[in-house]
Every structure is written in C-alpha cells, then in structure tokens.
C-alpha cells in the first residue's frame, strides 16, 4: 500500500503583541522579500497584518511581549488553545523585558505616581472603567502563564533569525539558531 500523500496545505500562523512595543513585529517585517516566499507557505490568522480579532485553529502562534494585564492573559490563553506550536518571540515574551522593570515597585506606587501625583495633574484618579483591563501586580513572561513550545530571544530577534526560525518550523526541523543569529540583546 502506498503511503497516503499529505495534502499540501498552507500552515496557519497567528501573531500578537501583548505587553510589547511591536518592535518584534517590525523585525518580522524586516524579512523583506522573504515575505513573498512566506505567503506561499503560510496563511495568516489573527495578526496585526490581517486585523482578524479572534484567533482560530492554527499551526503556529507567535507571541510578542509579556503578560501585564488581564486582557493579555485572555489573549494568551486563546492563542494557547488554538495554536499547535506556541512561540515566545523576543525579550519581553521570554523574560518580561522592559515592562517588567516595574516589578520591583508596588503596583499602587506606579499607578498613583502616574495618575495622581504627576506634576500638573489636578484631582487625578486611577482609571476604573470596567472596559479597561486591570493590570497584574507583576509583569510575567508568557511561560509563567501558559505552556510555551519555543523561545526566540532578542530585543528584537533579527529578521534573519525570525526567517530561519519559521522556515525550520515549516520544513519540520526543530528550530535551531546558530551563533550570530542567537542573541539576547
């Protein structure tokens, strides 16, 4: 019996930025002309590139940024539920990064400093509209909230690093960044 051929199917990819600066997404765009190759191989689900609001079943999910508020938790969990492979993309997703600098201060001090005590602010108060997601007491790297399959460090990871990582994944190889591509700054 001949093996059933695997139907050629484009992999579905979703991306999002939680407590990040979109720098990793910008770096993603730095793969430049490889974008044309990429769209031959994958189709995008929820992503700033598509403006789809909810993530559906996907093969690969790329998460930029750490987890700083309740909404981040919901989005991250939705990604985890839907993505077979979930990747922490960049320093903030991996370690909490710059936003986690607030972790050594009590949240109340941060909020009061910004909304109540800032010079020039009169009768300021901490926003409490139910529409707003509440901040967590600490900014967390995403692996502390959901299970993560791969980590791609860098602030941001370079375009070539992201391209190598994705092409490895798409080709069925365990992603591996050689010296030069793997860096933490």
């Amino acid at each position: 019996m001949s093996p059933t051929p695997v139907p050629a199917r484009k992999l579905r990819v979703a991306t999002t930025s939680l407590a990040g600066c979109f720098g990793c997404h910008m770096s993603f765009l730095d793969i430049d002309e490889h974008l044309f190759e990429l769209v031959e191989l994958v189709e995008f689900d929820r992503s700033p590139l598509t403006d789809i609001k909810d993530v559906g079943p996907c093969d690969i999910g790329l998460i930029e940024g750490g987890v700083c508020n309740a909404e981040n938790v919901h989005v991250l969990r939705e990604f985890r539920r839907n993505c077979k492979t979930l990747i922490a993309l960049g320093a903030c997703a991996v370690n909490g990064g710059l936003p986690a600098q607030r972790n050594h201060l009590p949240l109340s001090e941060c909020l009061r400093e910004v909304y109540q005590f800032r010079p020039g602010l009169e009768n300021g108060q901490i926003p409490n509209d139910p529409e707003l997601p509440l901040p967590l007491d600490k900014v967390r790297p995403i692996h502390e909230v959901v299970r993560v399959d791969y980590f791609l460090p860098g602030c941001p990871p370079s375009g070539p690093a992201i391209w190598k990582f994705l092409t490895d994944l798409i080709a069925g190889r365990t992603p591996r960044l050689a010296n030069g591509l793997l860096h933490y700054d």
């Binding site: 309740a70 938790v73 969990r77 949240l107 909020l111 409490n128 139910p130 509440l134 967590l136 007491d137």
Partner: protein, 603 residues
C-alpha cells in the same frame, strides 16, 4: 541602630602583621578582622585593601563569597541552625521558629537592639546528634525545646558563651563500629620512623602496593597522585589535607580530627616524605572552627617532639610543617581546585583542569590534596605494609571506609567497615527498620531504594565519601530531594551560568510542586534542567546538583506525581490574586476584574 564604630586600625594592623601582609592570607585576615566586631564594616574592607595593596573589589568579592563573612551587621549572638534534611527530620524548623518567637525576631533579620540574629546554614556535620546549631561559631547539638528555652533566656540575659552550660558544647564521637583504622593505637611518630627507614622510594612503593584510593569520594589512586606531584617541576611542594567536610550528612572527618588528629597530621607528614613537600595546610571548614584549639595543640606537641619542622626525625632533608587554614562556610571549597583558590585568599571558584593541582596547585606549585581519612589511612600502610592493607576490602577498593550514619536508625554515628559491605548489613547494624531509602554519599551521591539494599559500599558499586542517610517509610522522598536542591542552589558559587541559573530554576520547580502548583509539564522541564546541569556545568557541584532529583524521579516518582494538580500546565502563582491590588486601587469587582486560575473554567 548605632552608628558605625570607628575602624579599630591598631587591631587590624596586628592581624595584618601576623599574616605578613600577604594578600594570599586575605581569607584568614578577614575571618580574624570579623572577630573584632562580629561583622566586616565597609571601612574595614577599605582599610585592608589599602594595606594589602589589592583592589577593594577583590576584598569585597571575597567577603561577599563566604557565608560566614558578613558585610552587614549581625547579632552579638549569631545563631545558625543546621539545615540538613536530617536536622529537618529531627524538627529543626519548629525549634528555630520557637527561638525566633521567644526572642521576638524574624529569621534572617537582626534584632533591633543588635543582640541576636537567627538563620539557617548548610549541614554543620552534627547529623548523628542533631538538630545542630552554631552560636558564634561554636557547635551545639541535640537541640530540644528545653534547650531552646534555656538558650533564649541566656541570650536575653546576654550571658557570655563561656558561661553557658559546658554540656551544650559537648560533641560526641559516637563511634559505633571500629575496624583497622579506628582500632589503631599508634604512638605519634611510629609511622614516620617506619617510612624514613624505607626511604622515599620504598615508601611510595608500599603506598602503590596498598592500592589506597582517595576517601573523598572520587577514588583516585593515592600513589599515582603522590608520584605525579613528586615528579612535577616546581618548589616548594605542598600537601593539603581537605577537611572541608561539607557534603551534607558527612561527619567522619570531625571525629577523626577530634580523636585521631595525630593520625591525620602524621599522614600529611608521610605524604610530604613521599612527595618531597615542605609545606602543609589543613583546610578546616568554618563549621569545625571549634576544633581549632585542639588541633593547634596537637601540632605544637608534634613540633616539640620533632615530628614537624626542620629535620624531622633528624633527617637532614626532611623539613615539613603544617598550618591550619580556616574556611568560612562554602561547600564548593571541598572541590580541590576551589579549595586551593580559597587557600590563596580568593573566592572559592573551581579552576579549569588540566593543569591538575599535582602539577600546578597552590601558588602554581605541585600540590597534593588528600581527604582527611585518606591521609589517616596511610599510617596503617606505613606500619603494616601495603600488601596487608590491600588484603582487606574488595578487588578495586582496598581497606576500610568510615561511614557517617544518620537519619532513621537507632544508633547513628561512625561505622568503619571493610569495603564491600552490603547496604542491608549496615542497616541491620545501626538498627534501622522499615527503611524506604538510603542516600549514600550525601546530597551529591546516590539515592538507593529497597530493591538495591544488596548493593555494596565500594568504588566499583556504590562509591561514597562517607555520608549514609536513612529514610524510613514515614518520610517523603520528594521533601528529601527538595532539601538537597535548595542546598545546591544556595551553595552554587555563581561562576558558571548553567549551575547558577540551573540550580535556582530547579529550586523554583521543586517549590512550585511543593506549593501545590505542580503540573505534568514541570516534570518534563525538570528532566530538561537535570540534563542541562549535568552536561553544561563548570564543575562537579553543578553536575551533581540534579542527582537527588534524577534518582528520586526514577525510584520514587509517585512522590512527585501525587503533587500534580494538572496533567498539562499550571502557573506557579494565583492569577486572580495577581489582580487583587489593582481591584483594590480601582474599587472594581466586576467579572472583568477577575481571572480564573484554570483556563477550562473560562471557556
């Protein structure tokens, strides 16, 4: 808080003078300088750096490395509870809490009047008479609630330690089984006379015939080590006795030094004769500092008897003397190259080998580092000959081994057995019943389950530096492994990333399981960390750090699995609680102001 006292420069000058202003003496200088005020204020460090003409950063680096050196104020009574698993099994946690409550302080903090500070420290080697503590460096064993009450009272009354009941400081040898070494009643100098008679070459041949291997755990052939140092270029050569007995559960060296010091020093001198060394160090762990007066007295007596110093036994070319170098609470210094760094007055960071110490050791000179027990054993060879020594034990493990037995048994203490003794026999002898597991070789050693109790103590089967901790059916082997993981995380020297970060991550996972947040995914991560530590660490500390976890995961896996609350993933913290502060600040309590800890509940 009182203001900083003026630096007592005259006293510091005296200390510097005694140590010849040698930067290599920095650790000893810092230990003595600390005795002045109980801690090392910043001006003291600056003064010492200037006086020794070394960067202040180096002084601070050394002062910051050793647990028993303090760059922050500590109490006039500095209480350290030994925190080995055997101390925990004897209730040390409860006793420490009780003492803290009685003295109105928190563990790890200094009382407001500067009177007392209380915290834990790694195993102090009193496992057979625990729970143990050190008060200003002096050891107290057999702690009970009654003793704790009395100690609290004496501290409150500020009674000097010398006026505390003498029986508090009585440390027993608890020798339960003697064999050739512990039965040896040797007149000091007898072994030396024998080897001088043989000549250096003849003596080395006897050691070779004896098949003596290092008792510190690694089991390297002593004769090979000695011959390599003898043949190496560089003078003067050095003999170091490694009495940094830091492996949790090990206390045989304490007993040898307490009651058989002459055998140890004679063994060092025998080594010096074989190697042609003229300088000797006993590296005494800081926890055993209370043995110092006794050891100095033995050394003085030996000098008087012509067994140390110039022209030993009237041999024209046999000069050798021994100095005692104190450690200051750093397990890693038991590793021989870290020990040598520490001897040189530096942080105890292990060196890259090769070159090995036998060619480039202390100050780049050929250096032999031997365990206390190994050196004592050479007296047996000198007196009875190498062949007689090799006749006992097993094919690859000649002679006897001292075991430090503690944990769940009727008679903990020191047992000397010929190599090849089965675990089951030892358990029977020490009165252990319902034994679930035995940790042989300390935290870095191996955890044996019931089906392995026919295995034997020998380099070719179960090698050990001497620790033998017994756990009966009431113990939870996960707690045991977790205690050891905490120990390694605390003792990692911080030099290499795999060990510094790896031990601390491993500790995080073990705590996550202990705190009731365990998930199956954690077990996979633990496996991965175990492999990383094993393969990528700079020295043996890091590569041994996962051993307790690897063994217990293999042999006592249900102890881990029963702690899992999820078969997939579980955060280590309560997500909803992480929003509590924000809820309070915004006075919100709507559904959007809460998070379910488990994702399923959300859908």
């Amino acid at each position: 808080m009182s203001t900083l006292p003026a630096t007592p420069t005259a006293a510091l000058d005296g200390i510097l003078q005694r140590h010849g202003h040698y930067p290599t003496e920095l650790l000893q200088i810092l230990i003595e300088a600390q005795d002045l005020e109980g801690w090392l204020p910043a001006p003291t460090l600056t003064y010492l750096a200037q006086a020794l003409h070394i960067p202040r950063s180096r002084v601070e680096g050394v002062a910051g490395f050793y647990s028993f050196l303090y760059t922050q104020p500590v109490g006039r009574y500095r209480v350290l509870f030994s925190d080995n698993i055997t101390d925990r099994m004897l209730g040390n946690t409860e006793l420490m809490d009780a003492l803290c409550r009685k003295l109105w302080i928190e563990p790890g903090k200094l009382s407001e009047d500067g009177l007392v500070s209380i915290t834990t420290t790694s195993c102090t080697g009193l496992c057979d008479q625990g729970p143990g503590m050190l008060v200003n460096g002096r050891a107290i064993g057999q702690l009970t609630h009654r003793r704790i009450n009395e100690i609290a009272e004496m501290i409150r009354q500020q009674r000097p330690l010398d006026l505390w009941p003498a029986e508090y400081f009585q440390i027993s040898d608890n020798i339960r089984r003697k064999d050739s070494l512990l039965n040896l009643d040797m007149k000091p100098g007898a072994a030396l006379s024998a080897v001088v008679e043989m000549g250096r070459e003849g003596w080395l041949q006897e050691v070779q015939k004896s098949n003596l291997r290092g008792r510190g755990g690694a089991g390297f052939a002593t004769a090979v080590k000695w011959a390599s140092a003898r043949n190496a270029a560089g003078e003067p050569k050095v003999i170091v006795c490694n009495a940094d007995e830091g492996e949790p559960g090990t206390f045989k060296d304490r007993v040898l030094l307490n009651s058989y010091a002459d055998l140890v020093f004679e063994g060092m001198t025998l080594a010096a004769w074989a190697v042609g060394a003229s300088e000797g160090f006993l590296y005494l762990r800081g926890e055993y500092r209370y043995l110092l007066p006794l050891l100095e007295a033995v050394l003085a007596r030996r000098r008087e008897a012509g067994l140390l110093g110039r022209h030993i036994l009237h041999e024209p070319c046999f000069d050798f003397d021994i100095r005692i170098h104190l450690g200051a609470g750093a397990y890693v210094c038991g590793e021989e190259t870290a020990l040598i760094e520490s001897l040189e007055g530096k942080r105890g960071t292990p060196r890259i080998r090769p070159p090995f110490p036998v060619t480039k050791g202390y100050l780049g000179r050929p250096t032999v580092v031997n365990n206390v027990e190994t050196l004592a054993k050479t007296c047996l060879i000198a007196l009875g000959g190498g062949e007689a020594f090799a006749a006992s034990g097993t094919a690859q493990s000649a002679g006897t081994k001292l075991l430090s037995i503690s944990g769940d048994c009727a008679e903990p203490g020191i047992y000397e057995y010929p190599f090849g003794v089965p675990i089951a026999r030892i358990l029977e002898d020490c009165g252990a019943s319902d034994t679930q597991a035995v940790q042989v070789g300390g935290a870095a050693g191996v955890c044996l389950a019931g089906y392995e109790f026919q295995r034997r103590i020998a380099y070719e089967d179960v090698p050990t530096a001497g620790a033998f901790m017994i756990f009966d059916g009431t113990r939870d082997l996960f707690d045991v492994a977790r205690a050891f993981v905490h120990f390694f995380a605390h003792e990692s020297c911080g030099f290499c990333t795999p060990c510094r970060v790896g031990t601390s991550l491993l500790q995080g996972f073990m705590d996550k399981l202990a705190d009731g947040h365990g998930a199956k995914a954690d077990l996979a991560d633990i496996d991965w960390l175990d492999r990383l530590l094993k393969n990528a660490s700079h020295c043996g500390l890091g590569s041994a750090a996962p051993n307790p976890v690897i063994d217990t995961l293999q042999k006592f896996r249900p102890a881990y699995e029963r702690r899992l609350v999820s078969l997939d993933f579980e955060p280590a913290f309560d997500l909803d609680a992480a929003l509590a502060e924000a809820r309070q600040l915004t006075a919100r309590d709507d559904p959007g102001a809460h998070l379910q800890t488990h994702e399923e509940e959300e859908k």
